[in-house]
């Protein structure tokens, strides 16, 4: 079956067949990734990879075109003092800022991602969510980050959630769809796993942990469960789905541990910005600082790195 065919004929999977998750075991495995010691050239390679996978994000009620333009400048010029750095994968904004971001990024090959579907709560009628999605795409968004209806999911109305994702998927057209599970509101890892399976079958191109507005946001255990769901879905259908942990990943060291987890769970094919993203606002500068340290042997003051 071709990838498109799977997406289009997707139907609500039998969620009772989704593998169970043992929380203690997941935490143990997650801790084990953190014992990997990443040094020297493998550290530099990882740091550069992290930079290239960042969705540089501003999602505030106080966002202005000026703020978004500045963020786009940061996306293009991460740290010109160090030539040859990769640029971030995307800039992630609210739908009203998509046009601004698109223009500011120009032809720099940095994607514009827009949240949609009444982010972050998702509490809006479906027509409004669909309309918001279409507007964001029309404005030029390359990627849509939608939120699932957690209320319906927790209520057990899986059909509703499935149909909604499928409808948004359709409204996205050529834009990539990232489905935010908001794992901090799902309560158990079993539900995280089920929501992941549901979202992938409904046509998600990426599954994403969090809006960043709810605590806990991304954690290693939650991400591991989602990666394992992606792996099983890949084995079942042959279709690759991307992963985006978002919120709470602000240190380079932690980001590297996420990459270790990715490498040892899904392998080399997923280790590109096409299949893995970090949703983060302050991670980039810590990564830059670490890269600088690797190159010169000394830590530079935070004042040398632009804060946009």
């Amino acid at each position: 079956m071709s990838v498109t065919a799977i997406r289009e004929t997707g139907h609500l999977p039998d969620l009772s067949r989704v593998p169970l998750v043992d929380e203690v075991g997941v935490e143990e495995r997650s801790a084990r990734f953190q014992t990997r010691s990443i040094k020297k050239e493998s550290k530099v390679e990882a740091l550069r990879m992290v930079l290239s996978m960042i969705d540089l994000t501003t999602l505030e009620g106080q966002d202005t075109p000026g703020k978004v333009q500045q963020l786009c400048q940061k996306a293009i010029h991460l740290h010109d003092a160090m030539p040859g750095l990769p640029h971030v994968a995307a800039v992630c904004v609210y739908p009203t800022m998509v046009g601004v971001a698109k223009k500011a990024l120009g032809k720099n090959n940095i994607k514009v991602a827009s949240v949609a579907t009444a982010f972050p709560s998702g509490m809006a009628p479906r027509q409004i969510k669909l309309e918001e999605t279409r507007i964001a795409v029309d404005e030029g968004a390359d990627e849509i980050d939608m939120v699932i209806s957690r209320g319906a999911f927790l209520q057990g109305d899986y059909g509703f959630v499935f149909d909604e994702i499928a409808a948004i998927r359709e409204a996205c057209g050529d834009a990539h769809l990232k489905v935010i599970l908001e794992t901090g509101e799902l309560g158990t890892l079993d539900r995280v796993r089920r929501a992941s399976v549901l979202a992938m079958h409904a046509g998600a191109d990426f599954i994403k942990t969090s809006t960043g507005k709810i605590q806990p946001a991304a954690t290693l255990p939650v991400t591991l469960v989602m990666l394992q769901a992606i792996r099983d879905y890949f084995y079942e259908t042959g279709r690759m789905v991307g992963m985006k942990p978002a919120g709470g990943i602000s240190s380079a060291k932690l980001a590297i541990h996420y990459l270790v987890m990715l490498r040892e769970t899904l392998g080399a094919a997923w280790m590109t910005p096409a299949w893995y993203r970090f949703g983060a606002s302050s991670l980039a500068n810590d990564v830059l600082m670490q890269l600088r340290k690797q190159a010169t042997g000394i830590y530079q003051s935070a004042d040398y790195f632009s804060k946009d």
Partner: protein, 490 residues
């Protein structure tokens, strides 16, 4: 590397650079003598043997070979210390000495970890995170019991036994020394301990710790040698108690020679544990449990989950996931912090493992090994699984003591249980299911000393450990571990 796009590829792309643990802070002497009566003294016959690093085959040091006269000297020193200060000392004072050993071990943990990995081949991650901290924990735990023995056995009066002769294996050198020495001392006994011939160094370093802790001379004596030295300890007439951990074969010889002597003994012997995965288990975590059960410490674990029993309906899924997981295991330099599987302990053990790999194939089983590269020098074995095996195969019945897993399937709980118990061993077992009732049914009916549910290879000083059937006699650890070093008067 797999080029099949329908498979996950783990060996391409980003790789981890070497991350070796520093050895600068470690000194290993050119030669070690016998630790008898609180001092290091040369062996009577002047003979020494080499201990090597199994990852490089390079010589690390020479250690003394204790003959019968040396054993006798050690037992006499232990007897004198027992009669002298140790058995007369206030129990709380005894406890203080044991606490002191525990604290010094913690302080020198990095040094001990490195030496353990150098001498035995186990990954530094394990010696650093498991062996050494757990060894210290055993001393801490039993130090606390020293002045509370009356409360451990209410209504009975505990008495120490005298001199304990202890012979330990090469798979967890320092940890096994701690398992043996800590309860013996807490109960007021003195000790003659012999570490395994391939891994004597951490025991000799422990002798330094015992000096540093200022224990009265002769309370702990550590003598090195091979099988003959061990036999001399077991057969010495003035030893009151024998504690042995090792092979079932040697255990049988020891039991035979102890028959009728009145010596108390505990034997912790081999195993061939069943790790049982039910269809309703959390499969991804169960796969981790399989890996931890059989590849921990290169499979040199008497309680290793060396027989995988997996329910038929999930067998394919489990095996596919296990193979993927095996691809991510890093085999190599034990001192590299990222190594998951280190070196096989000795050339002899590697031969044993290899002979079982041939036996498995000759029996018609299908062998699968991960694709990792292993170094040219040193003793290595890739993580290995056998599928298509049955109860009648030798690789299912006999202990291999290496990173080799025999996989069988079962259909019903009863069949799983029958297969699990159909072995002369009974040291450990594992059950993986989401159903509590099933856990209870299995754990009540598997005849093994320790059974883990939804986890594997977890150890704690408070928990007793020991076997059924040919896996041994007696319990070590916890309150039960005190009983082995006491005479209880009612």
């Amino acid at each position: 590397m797999s080029t099949d796009p329908s498979k996950l590829a783990f060996n391409a792309g980003w790789q981890y650079a070497p991350a070796p643990e520093s050895t600068d802070h470690v000194t290993i002497d050119e030669q070690y003598d016998l630790f008898i009566g609180g001092e290091f003294s040369p062996p009577g016959e002047g003979r020494y043997f080499e201990t090597i690093n199994p990852a490089t085959e390079e010589r690390l040091s020479s250690v003394a070979l204790a003959g019968e006269a040396d054993v006798d000297r050690a037992v006499k020193a232990a007897r004198k210390a027992y009669a002298g200060p140790w058995s007369k000392m206030k129990a709380a004072e005894r406890g203080k000495y044991i606490f002191r050993i525990a604290r010094i071990l913690q302080e020198r943990a990095r040094e001990f970890s490195v030496v353990e990995s150098l001498d035995g081949g186990k990954p530094i991650r394990e010696s650093r995170d498991i062996d050494i901290p757990l060894a210290a924990a055993h001393f801490f735990y039993y130090a606390g019991w020293a002045d509370k023995l009356e409360y451990a056995f209410p209504g009975r009066r505990p008495h120490s036994l005298g001199v304990a002769g202890q012979v330990i294996p090469w798979n967890f050198p320092l940890l096994m020394a701690a398992w043996k020495i800590a309860p013996a001392l807490a109960c007021g006994n003195t000790v003659v301990l012999k570490p395994a011939e391939t891994t004597p160094l951490t025991a000799l370093k422990l002798a330094e710790v015992i000096q540093e802790a200022d224990l009265p001379p002769g309370v702990v004596n550590i003598i090195t040698g091979a099988g003959d030295t061990g036999a001399a300890i077991v057969n010495h007439p003035d030893v009151d108690k024998i504690a042995f951990t090792g092979s079932t074969e040697v255990g049988r010889i020891i039991q035979r020679s102890l028959a009728g002597t009145g010596k108390k003994y505990t034997l912790e012997l081999g195993g061939k544990a069943a790790n049982i995965i039910f269809a309703d288990a959390a499969i991804d975590q169960a796969v981790e449990g399989i890996v931890n059960g059989i590849f921990f410490n290169q499979g040199h674990v008497c309680c290793a989950g060396s027989r995988l029993l997996v329910q038929e309906s999930v067998a394919d899924e489990v095996i596919t996931k296990l193979k993927d997981r095996m691809e991510t295991l890093i085999v190599g330099d034990p001192l590299d912090k990222n190594t998951d599987i280190g070196a096989i302990n000795s050339a002899e053990q590697l031969d044993t493992i290899r002979s079982y790999l041939s036996i498995g194939r000759e029996e018609g089983a299908e062998m699968y090994q991960s694709s990792c590269e292993v170094p040219d020098t040193g003793y290595w074995c890739r993580p290995t699984i056998f599928t298509g095996v049955s109860q009648s195969n030798r690789i299912v019945q006999e202990e291999i003591f290496g990173p080799v897993l025999a996989i069988q399937t079962f259909r019903t709980l009863e069949e799983g249980l029958t297969k699990a118990n159909n072995t002369p061993y009974g040291l450990s077992g594992g059950v993986w299911t989401d159903k509590g009732a099933k856990i209870f049914k299995m754990t009540q009916n598997i005849r093994a000393g320790v059974i883990w549910a939804n986890t594997f290879n977890k150890f704690d000083p408070t928990s007793p450990f020991g076997g059924y059937k040919e896996s041994g006699v007696g319990r070590e650890g916890g309150l039960h571990g005190l009983d082995a070093y006491l005479r209880l008067e009612s």
